[in-house]
């Protein structure tokens, strides 16, 4: 194994299940069903800084919690979370407006192994809403760009209107120190970019397989096929890291809802090495 995923910090709070009150500062409508919330502590208490790839439990008061990856942070304890309306709780979260309250627990889990990536080429592959949990890793690399080798970002979505972070995509496209490939599964004639599943862009990616670390986040089948395509390019399974999502409820490794073979995704993940995961991904009962 190349390295261990980043160790989680000890989450703070008076009780492990008690959320800390935050307030919505701003809401950006990314797509028709997806928003990015900027939330700030409502009072003196705040969760510890999140490492790239960690997640928090966002509590929609009166409804319940949902695990949402941290997609960014700013001063004064501000957190960014990109949320898609995909259920009762996330529906409520996407309806929040500035000034509304939201509860936060976390941050939880092991994040992207940023130390293991230093000095290496980095390939970031995101499918759909897999980009938000990867954004902090990307920003970490861009803040210390010389510490890493080539940087290749491959981002796939269902259609052009499902792409998030439009402004940042433009900014990344303009940069000379990274290469961005954006592809969609289908498009109309007004789309001049690539069309095809995200794995079709791997053969064209520029990296040295022997000194590459890959961070992959998206639907499970996309991650499996991407890791397979990376293997075909010579990137060992031990150098490919994926972020799993499995029915996380307590986020503390107590309840077992997110058990995936010998791992609890909330505690041992969500970022896991593909080397250990690969045999389990093919087992339907796990």
């Amino acid at each position: 194994m190349l390295a261990e995923a980043a160790e989680p910090d000890e989450p703070s709070g008076p009780h492990p299940f008690a959320p800390i009150p935050y307030v919505v500062r701003s809401v950006v409508q990314e797509t028709p069903d997806t928003v990015t919330l900027a939330i700030a502590p409502h009072g003196s208490r705040r969760i510890p800084p999140a490492r790239p790839g960690q997640f928090a439990m966002l509590y929609a008061f009166g409804l319940g919690e949902s695990p949402i990856g941290v997609s960014g942070s700013a001063g004064e304890g501000v957190l960014f979370h990109t949320v898609r309306d995909a259920g009762r709780i996330t529906h409520a979260l996407t309806r929040l407006t500035p000034g509304d309250g939201v509860g936060v627990r976390g941050p939880y889990g092991r994040g992207w192994p940023m130390e293991a990536a230093r000095g290496r080429d980095v390939v970031i592959v995101a499918g759909g809403l897999g980009l938000p949990p990867l954004r902090p890793a990307l920003r970490t690399i861009l803040r210390d760009r010389d510490a890493y080798g080539r940087l290749e970002i491959i981002y796939g979505a269902r259609t052009p209107k499902d792409l998030v972070y439009a402004a940042e995509l433009q900014e990344w496209r303009r940069r000379g120190d990274l290469r961005l490939q954006v592809t969609v599964d289908a498009a109309g004639r007004d789309w001049y970019g690539d069309v095809g599943v995200v794995t079709t862009r791997i053969p064209d990616a520029r990296f040295d397989p022997a000194r590459t670390v890959a961070f992959v986040c998206g639907p499970e089948i996309m991650m499996k096929l991407t890791a397979r395509a990376l293997l075909a390019r010579g990137v060992p399974a031990s150098a490919t890291w994926v972020s799993m999502e499995r029915n996380m409820k307590c986020a503390l490794g107590f309840c077992g809802h997110c058990q995936f073979g010998p791992s609890f995704v909330c505690r041992d993940g969500p970022v896991l090495s593909f080397e250990g995961l690969a045999p389990r991904l093919g087992v339907r009962e796990v």
Partner: protein, 155 residues
């Protein structure tokens, strides 16, 4: 048929589809081949019309489009440099299955399908070599289509 230009033959030999194959094969398929440049928006192939060329994409981008009544035209795949357009030239009735349109200015090498089929039929070893290059393209596109059917981004 006139002898192919050396530049054209060299360009075909450099293209990933033919790279490494027998020079005699490359020489043979170069006869009658053309280097074409099309403007953005130009239709390269139209569904149902004779698939009379096998296209090796050199530069630019080609969209494979599916049209359906009462629905906007949908691009289901794009092809770029190093890729090939079409296998309809090989499979009867030799008619294009999709529309192919240039997304931007695109350069490709057009190999005449009639001649190509004849060469491959007359030289089974070359035919096998070409099929060994073409089948992975088909297999990859079939797998990608299946993945699209699964809908990677479904909720």
């Amino acid at each position: 048929m006139s002898a192919p230009s050396r530049d054209l033959e060299a360009a075909i030999a450099r293209h990933p589809f033919f790279a490494g194959l027998a020079p005699e094969l490359v020489h043979a398929v170069s006869a009658g081949a053309e280097a074409r440049v099309v403007a953005p928006g130009a239709l390269i192939a139209r569904e149902g019309t004779p698939a009379d060329v096998f296209c090796l994409v050199v530069a630019g981008k080609i969209a494979l489009e599916v049209g359906a009544p009462d629905r906007p035209t949908l691009t289901v795949q794009t092809l770029g440099p190093g890729e090939v357009l079409g296998w309809s030239w090989l499979i009867p009735p030799h008619r294009w299955r999709f529309d192919a349109r240039a997304v931007k200015e695109t350069r490709f090498l057009a190999l005449p399908a009639d001649a190509l089929r004849g060469i491959l039929a007359d030289h089974p070893a070359w035919g096998f070599d070409v099929l060994r290059r073409l089948v992975p393209v088909l297999a990859e596109r079939l797998e990608n289509t299946r993945v699209q059917l699964v809908d990677l981004h479904a909720r």
